[in-house]
Symmetry: C2
Subunit: 166 residues, 2 copies
DNA sequence: CTGAACTTTCAAATATTTCTGAAAGTTTAT
DNA sequence: ATAAACTTTCAGAAATATTTGAAAGTTCAG
């Protein structure tokens, strides 16, 4: 398989994976494209390579920047903007973990907290509260692990992983 | 907040969380409903409580059964089927991890494996292969952690978590 | 075997998400 | 100040995902 075919295959697969994790296909594809590009890439480049509109590229680039895994870059003597993805996979993973934690785990824990105050002493209510309690417990523990991961540097995490996978 | 309101809020939130993780809203809502139900629940019950059609409930129940986190239950002297969710959150999490591993991590590793064979000795190709190598490394390590989690019982995982979160 | 009770299927309808493209906005050079 | 070069916005269009509902299928008691 030659480079262009491989790159294309990677972009497609990364896009497909993204969509099964609640990330839109084009955003994931743009990210993939930047990941495997050695040079900073312009909006036009992306439009051409992925065959999508300027507006689409612009919006998804903003989102990637917002997630903190892509940055603008200015080439001297060039008017237009170029973009690069953080190439450190561990840093990208930590950043995504950080964002999803903020956007999903924290709000869910807040909901659970509210639900703890459900009134009633009947068996149904007790059972409901018990389940919410278990979910809170589980979610908090998962949150703890994610938090540790976010705070870790690669070295720490690598060592811990070694221990974990034996 | 009284029980019905709380239950409703939980079902809504679980549905919303599901959709940001690539699980369709109704499937997540049905799961939520079963999670907080003490008694086995019939298709009709779900239709009524979530205000969705019979076909929709049926399809999503099949999917939940397929994921291995919901089971059919027959009440004696009753013709129709009832459904219950596995109430052990850790078991549910392990099951979901197992399925997503099979459906997502494994195929992605297979794609990476193919991409390793990209021909070419130029700098671009080398860089591409290096990135694929890093992604493979990262994904394999994540896979190792997930695998360990899947094989763990709650006790083991709880202890490890304690170590992890200090 | 027949019909009642229930489940499954799937084509069409609906809802949701994503994308386009052109207009408006911004920045910089002259 | 003007214009060229580029970026952003967003209403409507297109694509995708989900849902409906009615017909077909299944099971079982009588």
């Amino acid at each position: 398989m030659h480079l262009e075919e491989a790159r294309q295959k990677f972009v497609q697969s990364w896009g497909a994976l993204g969509s099964s994790w609640g990330i839109n296909r084009t955003m994931a594809q743009i990210h993939a494209l930047l990941l495997v590009s050695t040079e900073p890439v312009s909006t036009e480049d992306i439009m051409e390579q992925l065959q999508v509109s300027r507006g689409n590229v612009n919006m998804n680039l903003r989102a990637l920047i917002d997630w903190g895994i892509v940055t603008k870059e200015n080439k001297i003597g060039e008017r237009r903007e170029f973009f690069v993805a953080d190439k450190d996979i561990w840093a990208v993973a930590r950043q995504i973990a950080r964002e999803r934690r903020k956007r999903e785990i924290e709000p869910m824990l807040r909901v659970f907290d509210e639900l703890k105050n459900t009134s009633g002493t009947d068996a149904e209510t007790k059972e409901f509260k018990r389940m919410i309690g278990e979910l809170t417990d589980f979610t908090s523990k998962a949150d703890g692990v994610v938090d540790k991961f976010i705070r870790s540097d690669e070295h720490w995490f690598y060592k811990t992983l070694l221990k974990l996978v034996k």
